[in-house]
């Protein structure tokens, strides 16, 4: 059962975004983190020091663990950023910035 059922949510128009080049489904109002969780993805960042996998931790924009690259912009909080059709999400490594 999906939590959308008890909430009585109507299936909204679904669109596609990509995560590391693969298409995943998303809907209006959905955040990057929610779409990735729904697609079974729990980690989308490798830490700067140890390259360790990270995903959502605090879920409310405080911890910055869920940083991700969206449409080429690094260090966006996946738990806050709403998706739009065609968004390109990429796993972020290191600082997220291209090397100097």
């Amino acid at each position: 059962m999906s939590p959308a059922q008890p909430a009585g949510s109507r299936p909204a128009a679904v669109f596609t975004v990509t995560f590391d080049g693969l298409p995943i489904a998303a809907s209006p109002g959905q955040t990057v983190a929610a779409a990735l969780w729904t697609a079974g993805v729990t980690a989308w960042r490798g830490t700067r020091g140890g390259g360790r996998p990270r995903g959502v931790f605090c879920g409310i924009g405080v911890c910055f663990d869920c940083l991700v690259t969206v449409n080429g912009r690094p260090n966006q909080r996946a738990c806050l950023v709403p998706l739009r059709p065609g968004d390109v999400i990429r796993t972020q490594e290191g600082t997220g910035h291209e090397d100097g």
């Binding site: 999906s2 959308a4 949510s9 109002g29 959905q30 929610a34 969780w37 020091g49």
Partner: protein, 467 residues
């Protein structure tokens, strides 16, 4: 720069809403500035608007309160008394020189790259709180989320952190989180609470003063029972296991002294762990304004005024106490502001009901704090390689070394010598652990920027005008 308003309210949770509405009802023009897409804060978080959900994924205990607040907000917005700025992330409130009021600086836009400034004569800080999580080995694995975070993503996005969830830690939030997850379709493999029933009994008199709140807890426990979930009191999660994501946790019993009971550890398979150890107030904006703090809380008087003229504070930011306390404090603040902006002293008898509720609920919160104290040996259970600072990947061992060998003696010197607290979250997540390892009380860090600010936004700040 946006036009000048009489009152800027930062935060549209229970305290901010109550304050904005009480002030607006008395004719004050209010600008309500909030980071979320919809009003309500964490407590009244609703599914995203575009989901067109008819109700929250699990029954909300204060649905009627929410409807009342929402309807009033809609009315004042329609009348133009309240302007509601959504998705505005306030990074600084600036006190302008020569009594020219305040400038509330926010970021908006999808990547929060646009700067917006709201001018106001008075400010109500209702910035809420965030969750305290005490580190343990494995807590950085994907799949480990904060209890409040699991609830927020469920309420707002209608998704679950996993199929099989362990809810753990301490505090009154764990029951509703577990109930909500179960009702939304997750299998709650265990609800692990480190406090024991004895602690509850010891505080029985203070708790009995709020029979409604106690009944709320009983109600959640009963809802959980329907899903076969029985809370494990005086237990704790010792370690989270998994290679690249969470696969299981080790749960063990605590003895009466709060130490691990030998031979009680067992492994529970799960793909999500929702963990929390109570809440901490957001005090950055207040601290930068120069407001006095008391411990980790913004200090306020009986009118919810801080010691900086023109700045009020209400809700969790003045001490964590829950939504009902936040509503009472916000209401008092709003009425005080309306009177003070007219240049009159308010009559406290006008808010006697809210005042009594505030007194009762603060006593109740203090009793809960004592009941839900973290287990006594949590600091020792952090192994040297347990990550403390998640941003800068600083282990407990390095903090211990800074304290033991390099002479660090407080959070700031630990930060300077280890980088713990220098990263993206600016020490919000590691603060309690660093304080525990250093052996000093948790003090709020100094964060002049409550959120990261693009340099371009700083460079484009409005020039001070001599008006």
């Amino acid at each position: 720069m946006a036009e000048r308003t009489r009152l800027a309210v930062v935060g549209a949770g229970p305290a901010g809403l109550a304050g904005a509405l009480a002030a607006a009802a008395r004719g004050v023009r209010v600008t309500l500035v909030d980071a979320a897409e919809q009003a309500g804060g964490q407590f009244f978080r609703r599914p995203a608007e575009a989901f067109a959900a008819r109700r929250p994924p699990a029954p909300h205990p204060r649905e009627h309160t929410w409807e009342r607040l929402r309807d009033a907000l809609d009315r004042y917005r329609a009348a133009g008394t309240v302007t509601h700025l959504t998705e505005h992330h306030v990074w600084c409130v600036e006190r302008l020189p020569a009594s020219r009021g305040f400038a509330v600086h926010a970021l908006c836009g999808p990547a929060q790259e646009e700067g917006v400034t709201v001018r106001a004569d008075a400010v109500l800080l209702a910035t809420g709180g965030y969750e305290r999580v005490l580190p343990f080995p494995g807590w950085t694995l994907p799949g480990v989320v904060t209890a409040g975070g699991a609830q927020a993503v469920l309420k707002g996005q209608l998704v679950l952190p996993g199929r099989t969830v362990v809810v753990a830690g301490t505090g009154p939030l764990l029951l509703p989180v577990a109930a909500g997850l179960a009702e939304a379709g997750a299998r709650v493999a265990a609800l692990v609470e480190s406090a024991g029933p004895r602690a509850l009994l010891r505080r029985a008199p203070a708790l009995a003063g709020q029979p409604g709140k106690v009944a709320e807890g009983v109600h959640y426990a009963a809802r959980l029972l329907r899903y076969g979930v029985r809370p494990l009191a005086r237990h704790t999660v010792v370690e989270a296991h998994g290679a690249d994501r969470l696969e299981a946790v080790t749960v063990a019993a605590l003895d009466r002294g709060g130490r691990l009971a030998p031979g009680t550890a067992r492994r529970v398979r799960c793909d999500a762990l929702a963990v929390g150890h109570g809440l901490l107030p957001h005090t950055d904006l207040a601290e930068t304004l120069g407001c006095a703090l008391s411990g980790t809380d913004v200090r306020v008087d009986t009118e919810q005024r801080t010691d900086v003229p023109g700045v009020w504070a209400a809700g969790e930011t003045t001490g964590v106490g829950g939504a009902d306390l936040a509503l009472a404090e916000g209401h008092i603040a709003g009425r005080s502001i309306a009177a003070r902006l007219r240049g009159t002293a308010p009559d406290p008898r006008a808010w006697a009901v809210a005042d009594r509720a505030r007194t009762r609920l603060r006593a109740f919160a203090a009793a809960l704090d004592a009941v839900y104290a973290p287990p006594s040996d949590w600091v020792d259970r952090m192994t040297d390689d347990t990550t403390v600072c998640r941003c800068e990947e600083v282990g407990a061992g390095r903090v211990r070394e800074a304290v033991g060998a390099l002479g660090a003696g407080d959070a700031r010197s630990v930060k300077l010598l280890t980088r713990a607290g220098m990263g993206w979250c600016q020490g919000r997540m590691c603060g309690p652990a660093v304080a525990g390892l250093t052996g000093c009380p948790l003090t709020p860090g100094r964060r002049p920027f409550a959120r990261p600010v693009p340099l371009g936004v700083l460079a484009g700040l409005p020039e001070p005008r001599p008006d």
